[in-house]
């Protein structure tokens, strides 16, 4: 399994052609208390960079852009009752959706963990 990061603070774990997407711990810290996650519809076909989900905090709504193109296969239903999972466990239990990748070559433009760390430090 390989983890990649975007400049918009999404992470994607890739195993074969299946990706799991969430927002980074840094991002949840910036957003504050998450109150609601608007998840994409399963079965939807999306393109890299599309706004597919919205994460709400009390005073902000942040669009989540898919790091890769493909078809949404599953969403984290647990977030409906416990949106705070994105705060407490952003990079594991607070995942947002799973996606079947249609073009693995897109991942090449994303950051690895070290690059993302440097990127965050530069902000």
């Amino acid at each position: 399994m390989t983890r990649y990061f975007t400049e918009d603070h999404e992470w994607i774990d890739v195993e074969g052609d299946l990706g799991t997407v969430g927002i980074t711990d840094y991002a949840q810290g910036q957003l504050g208390d998450i109150t609601f996650v608007d998840l994409p519809a399963t079965g939807a076909t999306v393109s890299k960079g599309d706004s597919v989900s919205v994460v709400d905090s009390v005073k902000a709504a942040s669009d989540i852009y898919t790091p890769a193109s493909g078809t949404i296969t599953e969403v984290n239903e647990g977030l409906a009752d416990e949106p705070e999972l994105v705060n407490t466990d952003a990079e594991v239990g607070g995942w947002l959706f799973r996606i079947t990748l249609s073009d693995a070559s897109e991942l090449g433009s994303l950051m690895d963990e070290a690059a993302y760390k440097t990127y965050v430090e530069s902000l």
Partner: protein, 518 residues
């Protein structure tokens, strides 16, 4: 660090953990600090404060299958109970009538009571919107007289009176622009909005079917005119500019912006939220504006009522006037007043883009606004703008040594003074100052807006504050700034002396409870 209360009296009731256990009363009330239950806890469905005669006949047989099963589960109260319930609740509100309400961009000025009295004359308050015209000549004349004042004060060609609030007026203006473009046979789908704009501007543009492109601000808080010009082109329908802008500054290049937009085939929408600063001093029509809404509840003192109703007539240039929505009141050459509706739109208003409301708009606000305008007259309105600007600059110059004023160096402000929270102690921000003001007995200023200034505090005193009132406010604001610089932890838990401490907004949003459950 200055004292919390200059008078030397520091209530401790309700403060736990700061000065020992709170004193408890058996009732839960503390003197004049009164708690109040919900009507669902107080009333019952068979209680009533209205005496109604028994119906003279039973429901018609045909109605049988539609009848409600049992009375609605709505709690009732007798009149004394109801009066007490709402009076007690009212005392948990801050209001202009209690003290300064310096919300930037909101123009919380005194609401003259004559306005209320006039709006309640039966000839205005008890008139149906679809009575025959011969029985509502006076109502139509109110609309026409107010329209005439708004046109003259803004130097525009026409005004659409029906929009119900500022955002509705914005929508009306943008729909006029869409209709004008349609009439020209042009498909322009982009509206330019400065990043400092109020959120309604982009929301309205999107609602009207436009794509929004943002224009940056210059370091001195104005629209970046060059960036704006660079974006103009055949796809640009227009721009939405707030002037005076949300930083409390006049846009000196307004005319040049208008000329450039017009040369590129677009229209200029001006957000008139801040018209109070310039009423009687400048006419937007002289600056190339094509459409501008006027918040009657700001500049013309109709009450905010805890969040509406507002009123948002839109003044229009010659180019946009033909597209104003129905219904529309006009005055003929002979002085007679005509109401144009769908059935007679052919009489000079055939290009109207449609209808935005069921009836004539906010008539109750028109009577109040006209009363206010007649009270002030041309001279008084000019004085309103001058005093509003004077009061704001007085606050600006009286506080800029303790709170950074990011644009103060570039000159005077208009009707509102903008500060930032830079320079407070680590961990202290605008929110602490705002909540501290509540303990000082004031309503906070507008906070975290405009977005272009970090930790923004936008103070709009309005012209109806006395100098003595301003001096008290300034003393409190200075004291709070000093306490926040000194790291006074008690600010983090402010307010201490309001009906409620800080409320848990996260819980409210995560698990919304929007209705009472028995």
């Amino acid at each position: 660090m200055s004292a919390v209360n200059a008078a030397g009296w520091k209530p401790t009731m309700g403060e736990t953990g700061e000065g020992g256990p709170a004193m408890q009363t058996a009732s839960g009330d503390y003197g004049l600090m009164l708690e109040e239950a919900l009507i669902f806890e107080l009333g019952s469905a068979d209680k009533s404060g209205v005496d109604i005669d028994a119906p003279e006949r039973a429901p018609a047989a045909g109605l049988a299958k539609f009848l409600r099963k049992g009375a609605p589960a709505l709690p009732g109260l007798t009149e004394p109970e109801a009066v007490r319930h709402y009076t007690r609740l009212s005392r948990q509100n801050y209001a202009i009538d209690l003290g300064p309400f310096p919300l930037g961009s909101c123009t919380m000025k005194h609401n003259p009571r004559l306005n209320e009295k006039m709006a309640r004359l039966p000839g205005f308050a008890d008139v149906h919107p679809m009575q025959p015209q011969s029985t509502v000549e006076g109502a139509l004349e109110v609309i026409e007289q107010l329209a005439d004042w708004l046109i003259t004060l803004t130097g525009m060609a026409s005004v659409a009176m029906s929009p119900k609030a500022g955002a509705h007026g914005e929508l009306c203006g943008l729909l006029c622009i869409r209709a004008a473009l349609d009439a020209r046979g042009e498909q322009r789908d982009v509206v330019l909005v400065p990043e400092s704009a109020h959120g309604t501007n982009p929301a309205t543009a999107a609602f009207a079917g436009f794509k929004v492109e943002s224009i940056p601000a210059t370091p001195d808080g104005r629209v970046d005119v060059e960036a704006l010009k660079a974006k103009l082109g055949p796809n640009v329908a227009g721009v939405m500019i707030t002037n005076p802008n949300t930083c409390g500054l006049f846009e000196p290049e307004m005319k040049a912006i208008g000329d450039a937009v017009h040369a590129a085939g677009g229209y200029v929408y001006c957000d008139g939220a801040n018209f109070n600063a310039i009423v009687g001093k400048v006419r937007p029509g002289d600056l190339g504006v094509d459409a501008m809404h006027i918040n009657l509840h700001k500049t013309f003192s109709t009450p905010h009522g805890g969040g509406g109703p507002g009123a948002g007539p839109v003044v229009l240039s010659e180019a946009l006037a033909p597209f104003a929505p129905l219904p529309f009141v006009t005055r003929g050459a002979d002085g007679s007043i005509h109401l144009v509706e769908e059935e007679n739109r052919g009489e000079g208003h055939a290009q109207a883009f449609g209808r935005m409301v069921a009836f004539h708009g906010q008539m109750g606000m028109f009577t109040r606004a006209l009363t206010y305008i007649l009270s002030h007259g041309a001279d008084g309105l000019r004085q309103v703008a001058e005093d509003a600007v004077l009061n704001a600059n007085y606050v600006l110059r009286s506080c800029e040594d303790v709170l950074p004023a990011p644009f103060a160096k570039s000159g005077p402000c208009m009707h509102e003074a903008l500060f930032s929270d830079a320079g407070l102690a680590e961990g202290f921000s605008t929110l602490d100052i705002a909540k501290g003001l509540i303990d000082e007995g004031f309503h906070p200023m507008t906070v975290y807006f405009p977005l272009v200034v970090k930790g923004a505090m936008l103070v709009e005193p309005t012209e109806t504050e006395s100098k003595a009132g301003l001096d008290r406010f300034i003393a409190s604001l200075r004291s709070l700034a000093e306490r926040a610089k000194a790291g006074d932890q008690s600010l983090h838990s402010a307010p201490h002396f309001a009906p409620r401490r800080r409320l848990d907004e996260t819980q409210a949003a995560r698990k919304p409870v929007l209705v009472w459950q028995d």
